[in-house]
Structures are given as structure tokens and as C-alpha cells.
């Protein structure tokens, strides 16, 4: 049996950033430091599938997305698109690929040029890629706008960004990505800047695009959104995926203590669902100094409460870096105690 290659396959991706030492550090010849933004991340996104990458800020979500989009170069690992290894393609070779994978930014206010009418904004990528005659371009612009839910397109073509609501602006940004007819969308916090009443419509739009066959990698810090709209959820902590599985399984039956803590702190819609939040102390730790052993152990409630010790596992938690293990069908966690 021949199966079509997966849309996106990411394997053991590692991306690091040099950390500026500052003048004092450089003069003192302090060793150069690096931020371990992404430390061995693997996942796949199929056509018609939405994967949500969830985690606190600084855990490496955006770097993962940027590496996948080849906006940042990885130290090691591979990114495959439709089976083709694109990790080391050069700029010119990347060009045709850029059309097939598109990024949607967080802030629809930043991503649209205020001087451009909707028509120009959405047409721009076609001009950059020298696609179509003027007539074809205008047809594609109309089609993209209507696919993004701005129908009839005539009503919007000549407007400027300031003449649009926040939701309409994000739809224009999505149309700008759709006009190249990509196969993969990478959406980095696509609704976090939008008003509640508008979020649902943008998420529903992404959901319908997924149903029409697009693969979507959605980055979000909001587990509720991920739970409702994604097929699968990958929870990131300090540059690693610590749990991955079907969205409902991850939310209903979380296996990693970090995921469990995250779930308790997500505010629930129903006041009767109040739970005592399991609040982890401190901020998400610094990717420059990754703890030894399990990277989560300094904040882990299992270690802090002594449960890890009772089970005779504390040494391992402190000393041995856990790998992802499959615990149920398609559901993995990287925890010695799971």
C-alpha cells in the first residue's frame, strides 16, 4: 500500500539562539550563552488536520513555528513537507514552497498596511510570486476573500484597514494567506488580540478551512480553544513536547503533571466547575539554564509533594531526562511517573 506523504513532518528539531552577553559579559570574556528554545521536537500535521501547540510564553512555540516556516534555521533535526526534506533548502529553492505554507500572525492590526486597500493587501503575495494575469489575480483575490468569509468581496475590496472591524481585519489577513492556495497554515495565536465575540467566528473559519483539507498548526496559550478546535494537542514545556495526543484525551485524561496543572488553572466557563487551581510557583523557567534530569522537576507538584519519592522515582526525576512514551493509542507523555 502506498500512503501519501504527510503534509508536515518535524523530527528532533533543535533551534537555539545566542544570548547577548552585553558589554560587561563580553569584556569579562564570559562564555557565550545560548537559549535552548526548541530542544528536540517532533510532530506531524496531516492534510485536514489541526494540531495545537500549547504552552506558556517562552516555551518555544513561536520558535517551532518559525523554524517550520524556515524563517529561522535549526541546529539539527528535519522538517519535511509532503515528504521532501526542506530543512536545508536555500532561499531561492524555498520560494515555491513558501506559497504552499503560510503564516497567520497574531495581530491583525500590525500585519495589515494601513495605506493599502484590501484589494492591494490581498493581491500583494500574487505580485511577489509573479502569479497570474491581472484578470486572474483579481479573480483569485475575490475567491480568497470569499473563502475567508468576506462575501460579497465587492463590499470589502476598496476598504482600508481602519474601515474594518477587528474580526474583518483578521479575515483579510487570512485571505492574504489563502490567496496563494496553500496546503498548510501556521497560525500563531490567531485570536488572542480579538474580542471574545469575534474569536469564535475566526476559529470557526479556521475549522472550516481545515475541513476543506488544509493542514493547520495552531499556536495558542489557550487550552480551551485547543480542546474545542484542534484534533490533537501538543503541550510544550521549555523547548520540548511533554505530552501529545488526541485533544479530548489530553484534556480529559492528562498524563503529564504539567498538563494536569495547566488544566486546573484554565478558567472554566461554568462557575460550578470551580476547581482549586494547582498553581506552579514562579515563572516558566529560563531556556538558557535548562534543569538537569526532567526539565519540569523543579516545579513539578509530584516532586514537591514527595509523591515521586514515595514511588522511589525522585532520583530519576532529578537525574534522567524522560523521553516521550506512548501510554494509550496516539497519546504520549514524557514523565517517569506516567
Amino acid at each position: 500500500m502506498i500512503t501519501a506523504p504527510l503534509l508536515l513532518e518535524v523530527q528532533d528539531l533543535v533551534t537555539r539562539y545566542p544570548v547577548p552577553r552585553g558589554i560587561v559579559g563580553a569584556l569579562a570574556r564570559r562564555p557565550k550563552e545560548v537559549a535552548h528554545a526548541v530542544e528536540g521536537v517532533s510532530f506531524t500535521v496531516g492534510a485536514g488536520e489541526m494540531l495545537a501547540l500549547v504552552g506558556e510564553s517562552g516555551c518555544g512555540k513561536t520558535t517551532t513555528a518559525q523554524t517550520v516556516m524556515r524563517l529561522v534555521d535549526p541546529v539539527s533535526g528535519t522538517v519535511r513537507f509532503r515528504g521532501e526534506d526542506i530543512t536545508h533548502l536555500r532561499h531561492r529553492e524555498l520560494r515555491p514552497l513558501r506559497r504552499r505554507m503560510q503564516l497567520i500572525y497574531q495581530d491583525p492590526y500590525d500585519s495589515l498596511d494601513p495605506r493599502f486597500r484590501v484589494r492591494q493587501t490581498v493581491e500583494e503575495p500574487l505580485l511577489v510570486h509573479h502569479l497570474g494575469s491581472s484578470h486572474e489575480r483579481s479573480e483569485r483575490v475575490t475567491r480568497a476573500l470569499e473563502r475567508a468569509g468576506l462575501a460579497p468581496a465587492d463590499l470589502f475590496l476598496d476598504r482600508f484597514p481602519h474601515e474594518l472591524s477587528g474580526g474583518q481585519r483578521q479575515r483579510v489577513a487570512i485571505a492574504t494567506a489563502l490567496v496563494l492556495e496553500p496546503e498548510l497554515l501556521v497560525a500563531d495565536e490567531p485570536v488572542s488580540m480579538l474580542d471574545v465575540s469575534v474569536r469564535a467566528e475566526i476559529l470557526t473559519l479556521l475549522d472550516s478551512l481545515r475541513r476543506s483539507g488544509l493542514g493547520i498548526l495552531m499556536i495558542t496559550h489557550d487550552l480551551s480553544t485547543a480542546a474545542r478546535f484542534a484534533d490533537r494537542i501538543a503541550v510544550m514545556y521549555l523547548g520540548r513536547i511533554v505530552e501529545e495526543g488526541p485533544a479530548q484525551a489530553v484534556v480529559q485524561d492528562p498524563r503529564h503533571p504539567y498538563t494536569r496543572a495547566l488544566i486546573t488553572v484554565v478558567p472554566k466557563r461554568d462557575p460550578r466547575d470551580r476547581t482549586t487551581p494547582e498553581i506552579l510557583k514562579g515563572e516558566a523557567p529560563n531556556p538558557v539554564h535548562v534543569p538537569t534530569g526532567c526539565r519540569f522537576h523543579p516545579r513539578c507538584p509530584e516532586v514537591a509533594s514527595g509523591r515521586a519519592r514515595e514511588r522511589g522515582m525522585e532520583e530519576r526525576c532529578r537525574g534522567e531526562d524522560p523521553m516521550l512514551r506512548e501510554l494509550a493509542a496516539g497519546h504520549e507523555a514524557a514523565c517517569h511517573l506516567a
Partner: protein, 327 residues
């Protein structure tokens, strides 16, 4: 103190902004509520519905282009009638606020401790060494080590700056705290820390809290009571449980259905359309054009607030038998 009554009473509060060309924007259109000691009330609604303007008006900190009318009573004293000279000693001492985006509003070149000490000295709560000790205590109260007091804002993370902003608002020992979107830019874990802090302050210091947010689940988890604002008016208010389980205004119901639930229950449905402009007079119910249950009187008759259950009121014709039978 006048003992048992509410700490803060707001009656018929209106705010207008002067716009260019002699036009006016009616940002707050007659709101009423009161707040008892130790109570936590949520003020929710889409952006632009007037939440920030309302609490700035309560604090008496509106910009010069704004004018306000109505009554704001703090411990029974009518702050609008008393005039600025009488109100000034009470601001920050009896009622304080955490501004929207406060964590980004620290002066970058001054140490955190100095910025917390400033209001204390201004209001003659404490000065010099005593004030610095108190600032350290306040930082400890919000979960920041007093040893970090002499750091600069950029040396703090966002979550720490937000907590420092809360410490600053508490500097003069207020009884009422108004917190405007205090967790909006924060991660869930840090958000949980800040919400736990605010809840703890109401329990331990007996502080009364108004939590302003566009995020309903935050209110559902933190507040006993909430007021839902739309286009400058409170359209529904009551116990948070009632608002979720038995909403009596379609806007409240739709806001909840537009919010994804962690356990994936129920469809997530957006609310079509946008709120009306507030620089024009709105006829009838401001929500009618977006409402899925609008009927005959809605576009033309302004609904009144009617009680629907104990402590629960809504501004919707659906609750008015006279309107329903007439149409």
C-alpha cells in the same frame, strides 16, 4: 465608616466625551450597582462597551475631555457632590485602581520601591524608612521578595510587574480595589497567580474588588457576582452562577456561547455584527440588531432593567410580560 451599608454605590452614572466638531460620545449611559465589604464583582463586556470609562469615572480620574453625571458614593459620601478637594484625600486611601496595562506603565528609570513609596508619601501614610519597609511588606504580600524591591522594572517579568502594580495600588491601604483587565496580557499560570492574589486580598484584608475583564471564564471562576455591560449600559447583573445557568439577556447567553469550554461542551458560536457607535443616539435596545430573539418593541423602545430573580436583573423586553403580550 457608616457600618453596614455598601462601601461603594454607583447611581445613574453617565460619561460623555467631547469629540472634534462639537460631537459627543456617550460612553457610559446610566449605570447603577453597589459593592459590599469583601465582595468580588466582575464587570464584563466586549471592548469599547465602557468598562474602563466607568471605573475611571468612579475614581474621579477621567480625562479633561470627559464630563460625568450621577452619583458615586463611597462610604456614603457623594464624591461628585463633595468636589475634588474633598475627594482627593480619599482617592488611593479608600479606593484605588490598577490601570489597564499597568504592568507596562512603570517609570523605567526608577526603582520599583521608589514608585511604591511615592503614593504613600504623597498621601502622608508613611515616609522615609517606614515607607520603604511598608513597600517591602506590600511586595511580600503580592508574592515578590522584599529583597527585590530595589530592582528596576525591566528586571521584573510581566507577571511580577503586574503584581508590583497591585502592590502599588494597595500602598495607601484602600478598602476598594478596581482592577482593569489585570491579567489580559499574562499567561494562564501567571494569570492564576494574580487571580489567586486578588481573591486572597479580599479574603484576608476584607478588600472589595471590581474585576474588569472581557473574559467571562475569569469572572465565572473569581467573582460571586457580575455585571455585563453593552454599549455603555449594564444589561444584566446577578450572581455569576445565574448568569451562566439562567441568563435573562440574550447578550449574556451569546457571550457565554462564544467562549470555548475546556471540556468542549456546546457549540462555540460567534455573535454576528458589532456593537453600535456611541457617538450617535441609539434607538430602542442597543443589542437588537445582533439579537437572535429580538421582537417588535426592541428596535424602538428602550428596555428598562427589571428584576428577574433575587439579586438578578436584566434589561430586556423578553422579561416584560406587558411587552410580550402587546406584540
Amino acid at each position: 465608616m457608616n457600618g453596614s451599608g455598601p462601601l461603594l454605590e454607583v447611581q445613574g452614572l453617565h460619561v460623555w466625551f467631547d469629540l472634534a466638531g462639537g460631537r459627543e460620545l456617550h460612553a457610559v449611559q446610566g449605570i447603577d450597582f453597589d459593592l459590599g465589604p469583601g465582595e468580588r464583582m466582575g464587570l464584563v463586556g466586549e471592548s469599547g462597551c465602557g468598562k474602563t470609562t466607568a471605573i475611571l469615572a468612579i475614581m474621579g480620574l477621567l480625562p479633561p475631555s470627559a464630563s460625568a453625571a450621577g452619583h458615586v458614593l463611597l462610604n456614603g459620601m457623594d464624591m461628585y457632590e463633595a468636589g475634588e478637594d474633598s475627594v482627593r484625600p480619599h482617592r488611593w486611601r479608600d479606593i484605588a485602581m490598577v490601570f489597564q496595562g499597568a504592568m507596562n506603565a512603570f517609570n523605567p528609570v526608577r526603582r520599583i520601591v521608589d514608585q511604591i513609596v511615592e503614593p504613600m508619601e504623597l498621601h502622608e501614610i508613611a515616609e522615609g524608612r517606614a515607607a520603604r519597609v511598608r513597600a517591602g511588606d506590600l511586595l511580600e504580600l503580592v508574592g515578590i521578595s522584599a529583597r527585590q524591591a530595589s530592582r528596576y522594572p525591566h528586571e521584573f517579568s510581566g507577571g511580577m510587574r503586574q503584581r508590583a502594580a497591585i502592590a502599588m495600588a494597595l500602598a495607601c491601604g484602600p478598602k476598594v480595589l478596581l482592577a482593569d483587565e489585570p491579567t489580559t496580557a499574562l499567561d494562564v499560570m501567571i494569570q492564576a497567580q494574580v487571580l489567586e492574589l486578588l481573591t486572597g486580598l479580599t479574603r484576608e484584608l476584607g478588600l472589595s474588588l471590581i474585576l474588569v475583564t472581557h473574559d467571562l471564564p475569569i469572572v465565572a471562576q473569581t467573582c460571586d457576582r457580575a455585571a455585563v455591560m453593552y454599549a455603555g449600559k449594564i444589561v444584566e447583573s446577578g450572581p455569576t452562577e445565574d448568569l451562566f445557568h439562567t441568563p435573562r439577556h440574550p447578550y449574556t447567553r451569546l457571550l457565554f456561547s462564544a467562549t470555548p469550554d475546556l471540556y468542549g461542551r456546546g457549540e462555540v458560536i460567534s455573535i454576528p455584527g458589532t456593537p453600535p457607535r456611541l457617538d450617535r443616539e441609539v434607538l430602542g435596545c442597543a443589542f437588537a440588531p445582533r439579537c437572535d430573539m429580538a421582537f417588535e418593541p426592541c428596535p424602538s423602545v428602550v428596555p428598562r432593567t427589571l428584576p428577574v430573580a433575587p439579586g438578578h436583573g436584566a434589561r430586556c423586553h423578553l422579561n416584560d410580560p406587558a411587552m410580550r403580550s402587546a406584540s
